[in-house]
Subunit: 446 residues, 2 copies
């Protein structure tokens, strides 16, 4: 059996133990689960919906193979009739969700699953796993984009992302949320994320002469050359490439940029800019990387650092200041009756919900209302049907289109919520019909 992301056994054991109990009791009513974030990370003002695409892939492909069924039957925890019952299990339910790229807030359902109980329960672990990661990195990347203004932004985080899938999906999520591309080749192949790359220090070090390393690299990549100039002495390297740049230009080879990756990036950028300008190399851009996040990028630009692009890795891909979300996938209705969890500090709003968003005269977001799906309310409903009877309703848009939608969403973000350094609160009102349902459920303890 292969231990891959696609294996249905990538789930928590309790999903299977609950499924056997449901099977034994013949409980197969319709269950409604919603995924939402319980708490806004400190200092954050908004979240970006992402990961729905991978959730729909997962639901469409969900099934137990022969090896997985054998394992379940043979592991000593389950009985044969239960294992047999899983053989034909597919996801046959429906999904309503916010389109990827939608901005959202605490308690607002991002994805709703409506399906026979066993199907809806089984998928909890992987749905949270997929949605949390991309919401986390898309939301972080959107902040880096706010800080970077119109500068080039490239995801450099493959190496320190948490494993292969995190590297791939954070490349996807950061592009969706406004990055210009990634160094991750497979993400480029898979989703047409534009690819960027320079050279490593090791390239310079394998050569006895730094300048010879630059020339070798440029001649092998005449169309797109960025030289990493901080291996030994940044300013000395900047000075040394001036005659090289003119020599290469004669052969039609253009040095597009230099990359700085250590030390005081702002100070090096200023000195290197001065050296390049004085040496008649104004066209050479300056690209910076190394320990960057939205705060560092904002500080560099606020100080006027002449940096044209940023490689942002680790801290974006791992959402380092908030590497997880307090999020949940909770039962809201079963067999036609609304349900609610009342655990301390973790109470949830019951029932099938919708979010209506209002905009002001300038197209800025003005406030959301959380209410029952059946309630009609002014504003734009954010959740839309995306899957019926276990199949996508429509072909998914290409990622570049999702990115345009996210960009439009960001353009509607109120000014107070665009700041990185101060938490602002966006009005999300809980409508009376939903409050009333919560009271009713409490009375009946459902």
């Amino acid at each position: 059996m292969r231990a891959t992301a696609e294996n249905v056994l990538l789930t928590d054991l309790y999903q299977l133990t609950m499924l056997q109990a449901y099977f034994d009791q013949g409980m197969d009513g319709t269950a409604v689960f919603e995924f939402f974030v319980r708490k806004m990370p400190a200092g954050r003002n908004f979240l970006v919906a992402a990961g729905l695409e991978q959730v729909l892939d997962y639901l469409e492909d969900l099934s137990f193979g022969a090896e997985e069924l054998d394992w379940i039957a043979g592991c000593g925890r389950f009985h044969q009739r239960f294992a047999d019952s899983l053989g034909g299990l597919r996801f046959t339910g429906e999904v309503q969700a916010m389109p990827e790229g939608t901005l959202f807030f605490v308690d607002e359902p991002v994805v709703r699953i409506v399906a026979p109980l066993r199907e809806a329960q089984l998928v909890e672990s992987r749905i949270i796993n997929l949605l949390q990661l991309q919401i986390l990195t898309a939301s972080k990347a959107a902040r880096v984009r706010l800080a970077a203004r119109d500068r080039l932004l490239v995801d450099f985080g493959l190496r320190r992302a948490h494993g292969a899938e995190a590297a791939l999906l954070s490349a996807r999520a950061s592009f969706l949320a406004g990055f210009d591309g990634s160094s991750n080749v497979l993400a480029g192949v898979r989703w047409d994320v534009p690819l960027f790359g320079t050279m490593a220090h090791s390239f310079v070090q394998t050569h006895d002469d730094e300048l010879l390393a630059f020339e070798h690299f440029a001649r092998s990549h005449p169309k797109a050359t960025t030289l990493l100039i901080d291996t030994y002495d940044t300013e000395a390297a900047a000075l040394a490439i001036l005659p090289l740049a003119h020599k290469l230009a004669a052969d039609g080879i253009v040095i597009q940029a230099v990359r700085l990756d250590s030390g005081d990036l702002g100070e090096h950028a200023r000195r290197v800019r001065a050296i390049l300008d004085a040496g008649d190399a104004r066209a050479i851009r300056i690209f910076a990387s190394g320990n960057l996040d939205e705060y560092a990028v904002q500080a560099l630009l606020a100080a006027g650092a002449p940096i044209d692009g940023f490689g942002v890795g680790t801290r974006m891909n791992t959402s380092a200041d908030h590497p997880f979300l307090d999020c949940a996938y909770k039962l809201q209705e079963y067999a036609g009756r609304a349900r609610r969890k009342r655990s301390e500090g973790k109470a949830t709003w019951p029932g099938r919900k919708q979010v209506f968003r209002r905009f002001d005269d300038h197209g800025q977001m003005a406030g959301d209302t959380l209410t029952l799906e059946t309630d009609s309310h002014p504003g734009t409903p954010l959740l839309v049907p995306v899957m019926r009877a276990g199949r996508r309703i429509a072909t998914s848009p290409p990622l570049a289109e999702v990115r345009q939608y996210a960009k439009a969403q960001m353009a509607a973000l109120p000014t107070a919520l665009r700041r990185l350094d101060a938490a602002a609160s966006y009005p999300v009102e809980v409508a009376e019909p939903l409050q009333e349902l919560a009271r009713q459920v409490d009375q009946h303890r459902g």
Copy 2:
């Protein structure tokens, strides 16, 4: 082309651009790269080596398939001769490494790759990606084990780990570092990690009656039943299960434990323990989960909370207080000459290195010496050969055996380094031959 962890294109673009330049220049000398951690995360006293197994798998399987070669030839960045040259590329080098479970410190090489330049360069991105994740989670898990003393410790973090591979590999790494098991079914299938699972709140909520939910679950799992009692009112549920426990016992069904997942876990545990003891149910254990890490576990046990086991998820799997390591894979030698990077704040020790560890009379670690591989020194050498000519030298030990080795390593950890709340420093001396080589390299700027 499938976007999976096994795809050789899961790499940074610059690896491929550098490879083309090396190809064009005919540079194919032997390169030596070492992976090491540059800086100890604040408050941490040691790190646990982990992930070597997956690195060796990756190196043994490394190759470009037809689809990947077509992409490279057709993407507009590379020439056909270069793409063709990759067709036969395999990893043919050797690897020396610290066995998984070895404790290590800053600047100490954990894995060394010695191979023809292109092979050794290409693998950088994925090697860092694999090693960082498991070192990070194993090191965090080892701290949770220190805090939890002999209590049961289960990985509950699949849902908020960063994607599928992070969920799997953090389950593996935490078991390696002293956890007793995981809720992650696929990790159990793949590495024989013992599996644990209870029920979710949704299970209780789908029933109109909490006690009926408990009975249904217990009857479906007569051999191993843990009941989640905090959905509505923890103490009321504890009281209510007493008659149920006695009724089920008559049918040979044993309630092993109750799980608490919200509120003040220590206070609830004390009250629930009192209720269970007073109700002649002393055998029922108390298992706690929810927002736990090593500090929370330590505080609960220090306050005498009667908790027999902990489910630790999110904060362990994401290493939430330090979600990344300042680690690197750096060129140390090329074509027989030692090399060194001198970028500000990122200078490295050149050459092929070994770590010798000394122990005191009580078997406690007494100090390490970092020196050249060719230097002989008192103590135990930590790096051993694990791969030659691209193949493992020996079959890898089962994970349970690695776990035993890690346990022995932890037993040798000096008392000062076992504390969670104060950084202690462990002596790592840089021997004179290595310092001398660094001076020589600087003179020659290699």
